[in-house]
């Protein structure tokens, strides 16, 4: 039977559990990118994000019965597994946060730099974004999750709440607190952004 792309996730998962490689490939293609981005933004390390995505899908292969469709969506389940793996990773290496940009860490800082910028402006922008990334990675995990999902992944509060399996109000307050913390961490940059803004 051919697989329709609008097949429900639980149907795809059931077929995948029976050995249907096409169904599994569809699930992989659907979820690998958001899971990878989530892991990358939470850990700041591409190798860690790779490992986390791999571990999530290995669980789908080895223990598909862990997912209960009555308890939520497959996406929520996969994010939950990814979150656990992220936590484990952060527990293992809590201080291993990149403070400077690395070209092979999955970020591409040059892509958004305007060609009309002067080298000084570009350097300022470059530095500021690196510090914003570092500040995000330095947030406590629960606030970082909210910032990553709502600000970087641009999810709605409801989607983020579903993904993190918590009430919308919790997401709202964590995001609120996360922004305040970020602002506090980046307070020293107050003058730089103002200058850059003024120049733009």
């Amino acid at each position: 039977m051919p697989i329709e792309t609008d097949d429900r996730d639980d149907v795809l998962l059931r077929r995948s559990a029976k050995g249907d490689q096409d169904a599994f490939a569809l699930l992989y293609r659907k979820y690998q990118a958001p899971l990878y981005r989530f892991a990358l933004r939470m850990t700041g390390q591409s190798w860690a994000a790779e490992e986390i995505v791999q571990e999530v899908f290995l669980i789908v292969i080895r223990e598909p019965r862990k997912f209960d469709p009555n308890r939520g969506t497959l996406g929520g389940f996969l994010y939950g597994v990814a979150r656990n793996r992220v936590m484990k990773h952060l527990e293992r290496s809590p201080r291993d946060l990149p403070l400077t940009e690395e070209t092979d860490d999955g970020f591409s800082p040059d892509t958004l730099a305007s060609k009309e910028m002067t080298p000084v402006e570009w350097a300022e922008l470059h530095e500021r974004r690196a510090r914003v990334r570092a500040a995000v990675l330095d947030l406590p995990v629960e606030f970082r999750e909210a910032v990553v999902l709502c600000e970087l992944e641009e999810m709605s509060y409801e989607e983020a709440a579903s993904t993190l399996d918590c009430p919308v109000g919790t997401i709202r307050s964590r995001l609120h607190r996360g922004r305040a913390l970020l602002l506090a961490k980046l307070e020293m940059l107050r003058e730089v952004p103002r200058r850059v803004h003024a120049g733009q």
């Binding site: 292969i61 970020f107 970087l152």
Partner: protein, 236 residues
């Protein structure tokens, strides 16, 4: 009225309400009254205006940081590893299933072969294939009482698990564990023995007459071992 951002609805708003409204960026953008109050407060309060600028800068930077990784996805090597694991897992499971079915099939075939062999062996030895059905016949034993009671063992050939010697038909009864060999290689030897000695050859013997002397024809193979036994009609 107090929304999620703590704004009470009265104008002008306080600095605290302003900060809450700015941090709650989405509510501020969705609620026109709140937006108006925020704009009005920022015009009057330079400190809050600076806060708003910084917040806006932070929002922009976060958006940029998000855009940097917007198209990021797991490298193809991750997909290769995962798909390889998928294939390995399901191939192994399939092989295990085939092995299980195969082993059960082989076991069933072995049982069938064993039953057929056993049945053939029972037929070849002139024994009943269904010992249970011969329950009533098992009481029939070799009547080796001889002429004392004027009866012979004539007619008693095969009865269940009890080995019965034939005397009337002149046929030999195979001893347990011996295989029939061509008659030209065998010799018939008539011997005199005590009736009780038949017990050693696997026959049932009436204990009351175990000490009687009887004559027995033994079919001796070329290896010198008795293969079958027969009770002649006349017993001395």
């Amino acid at each position: 009225m107090q929304g999620n951002n703590g704004f009470t609805g009265r104008v002008p708003m306080t600095c605290e309400e302003f900060a809450l409204a700015c941090l709650e960026a989405r509510s501020a953008s969705e609620d026109s009254a709140l937006r108006q109050a925020v704009l009005e407060h920022s015009r009057k309060c330079p400190h809050c205006a600076a806060l708003q600028v910084n917040l806006q800068t932070l929002q922009d930077d976060l958006r940029y940081v998000g855009l940097e990784t917007k198209d990021a996805e797991a490298p193809s090597r991750v997909q290769m590893r995962v798909m390889q694991e998928f294939r390995t897992k399901h191939r192994t499971a399939k092989a295990r299933r085939f092995a299980l079915i195969g082993s059960w099939g082989l076991a069933a075939a072995a049982v069938v072969v064993a039953v057929v062999s056993w049945t053939n062996w029972r037929h070849a030895n002139g024994l009943s294939v269904f010992p249970g059905r011969a329950g009533t016949e098992q009481t029939a034993k070799v009547d080796t009482n001889g002429p004392s009671d004027g009866q012979s063992a004539a007619g008693a050939l095969v009865v269940g698990d009890t080995l019965v010697a034939s005397s009337a038909s002149g046929d030999f009864t195979l001893l347990p564990g011996s295989t029939p060999s061509p008659m030209e290689d065998a010799t018939v030897v008539r011997v005199q023995m005590q009736r009780g000695a038949l017990g050693a050859l696997g026959f049932t013997v009436n204990e009351e007459h175990a000490s009687d002397l009887i004559q027995v024809d033994l079919l001796v193979g070329d290896d010198g071992l008795p293969q079958a036994v027969r009770l002649p009609e006349t017993v001395e």
